[in-house]
Structure formats: structure tokens, C-alpha cells
Assembly symmetry: C3
Homo-oligomer: 138 residues x 3
Amino acid sequence: MKTYRKELWFNTTRRRELINITPEVERCLHESGIREGLLLCNAMHITSSVFINDDEGGLHQDMEVWLEKLAPEKPHSQYRHNTYEDNADAHLKRTIMGREVVVAVTGGALDFGPWEQIFYGEFDGKRAKRVLVKIIGD
Amino acid sequence: MKTYRKELWFNTTRRRELINITPEVERCLHESGIREGLLLCNAMHITSSVFINDDEGGLHQDMEVWLEKLAPEKPHSQYRHNTYEDNADAHLKRTIMGREVVVAVTGGALDFGPWEQIFYGEFDGKRAKRVLVKIIGD
Amino acid sequence: MKTYRKELWFNTTRRRELINITPEVERCLHESGIREGLLLCNAMHITSSVFINDDEGGLHQDMEVWLEKLAPEKPHSQYRHNTYEDNADAHLKRTIMGREVVVAVTGGALDFGPWEQIFYGEFDGKRAKRVLVKIIGD
């Protein structure tokens, strides 16, 4: 069994941002030389997310509106976590979007359906944060 | 290390449907001959879901009502994604329900608690769509 | 390839509770002797959750309020599942929080960012319930 590990770093200019990281993850997979196995990709921070969905700008705007409806940022005072912080909403948004994805590796490629793309979801950005890629297999 | 891969296809008659796919997934596991390892089961489409919950009709009706409250289908015009599509709500519903499950394989069986069952959650159906089963182990 | 399996049991005094189980999961990992691989930790019940977030009491209170807003327990009569049960809300709350986490194992340790902690989320407690830890790797 082979294993591979890499950290991807992101520093967004806005508080919230969705970034398509599929090419970076594919680069990791090729670097690993693993042809059959499982790939884990997870946010290493608890105010950001890794998820799979469509790379379509209108949908990303819908997600921003929707997450603000389900877990609004403001007023900051509505959250007890925000006594010393202002990012309680980011913890909740990431809960909805998910921490991680597990992807099948088949024939040396991400085993994806036609529109699947991996995104980094930043909900409390403007600072350097990490994503982990771990691959196991043969 | 052994690996196994299979696609399961679904074509629902309704736009939204929940289907218990546990027997199909168990069939894959037996076919694989793998006795110890991990099984990944994921939707290959971004408007459907694979999740684990109870096989109880009342709960499934509750889920339909609940998802329509959190991410309503109509009016279609409320979503920017729906300029060319009408399924933005399906992308959001699948986000809540999740893309994938990872299940332990122990002694050649799905290592489940008493009520765990695997479901395919279709949120934009009436066309052929796929689920991936990937198993790794010994 | 090595594999390891253990059940962790919980019996909460309140209906809903969040418990940091990171030390127990780390104990499992050390017991397994596995240094490189993947660790799956999942609720074996469909009214509870395993998730990763911050060990901060204010945030946990925010989560309780937030989950009660998105999937309120009462009135029990609002859910069809509650004809014979009273825990439909717990099935929905666990759906938001997630069934499982998959964690990378690197150098014999959980490969975590600075604040990642594993929680058992109980949403229908006061009875003995289980979490599964399954580890595969070398």
C-alpha cells in the first residue's frame, strides 16, 4: 500500500470565497503515482469546507445567499461564540457545506461523474489556511 | 490490497425520490470478495445524494417537507443558476443530504448499527443517473 | 494492510449533548499500531452524529439554538415519523451535522489542523448508543 500527503494553502482576499481546486488535487494524484485507492481531501480549519458541486457562477451566488439565510453572519452579537470572535457563522456555514470529500481513484484518475468538481469553501478568510490531500492505494 | 468498482444506475419517475440501495451495495461487497476495508458510495451527479438514515416512510415524507422549507424548488426565478436550468434547489438539497457515505467493511459485511440503511436521494430525476461503489481492502 | 475496529459507547443524561471524543479516538489509533492510512469514525445510530469542529462552549450553545431553528423538536406532531416515535427532529439534526468523519493518519497520529476536534453529537439520548472506529493502513 502506498500513501501520499500534501497541504494546499489558500489566502483569500474576501471573507467568503469558493475556489475550484480540482486541478491542484489532480496534480497531487499524479504526483502520488497511485492508480487504485481512495483520496481524502479535507479542510484543516473549522471555518472552511471542502465539497463537490458544479463550477457555475450563478449557483455560487445562490449558495452565498442561501448560506447567509440559513446561518447569517450579522448581527455578530446573536452568537455566544462571538464574545471573543466574530466567525460563529463560518463554523455553521462549514457544517452545512461539509469538512471533507472522499473520492475514488480508478486507473490513476479521480473517478468522477460528468460535472463533479472539488471546491474549497472559505467562510472566514483573509488569512493563510490549509487543505489536506491524503491518498492511499496501490 | 484489493479494489472493486461498480456503477449503479437509477431513472426515477418523479423529480424527487428516496431509494433504499442497501441490497445493491451489499451485492457489490459480496462480489468484491473484500472482507476488511472501507467502502465508498457516492452520487456521481451534483443534484443527487447518497446518505444513511432510517427506512421509514413517515420520515421520508418529513424529509421532503423539510428540504422544501430549507431549499424550496419554486419559484425557479429566485435562483441565478436557473437562468438556463431549473434545478438550483436540487444542488442545495443534495448539499444538506451529502454526496457520499464511507462504510466500514468487517468480516465481509457492511459494519452497520441496527437501523442504518443506505439511500439514493434523487432531487432532479426523470433521467438516468449514476452512483459509484468503490471498495478497498483485503 | 492492517485493519482495526472498535466500538465506543455513550449514554448521555440529556436528550441532546456534544461530547469531545478525540482522546478516545486517539487511543484507538495508538492501539491499532497503524502509522499511515485512513480512519473512519461514524455514528452507528441514525439520530446521532460524528463531526469535527471547535471545542468551545459558546459555539456549542450556538449550535443547539441553530439546530433547533432549522429542525425544531417540538411540536412533535409536526412530523409524520412521530406517529410512533418522538425523534424525527433528531434524524434531521444528524443529517445537518453528518454521520461520519474520515481522518488522515500520518506518522501514527490524527493529521489535524490546529483546532480540529472530533465530537459525538447526541440528538436523542438517555440510552446506550455506539460509535464505530475503523482504521485501515500500514
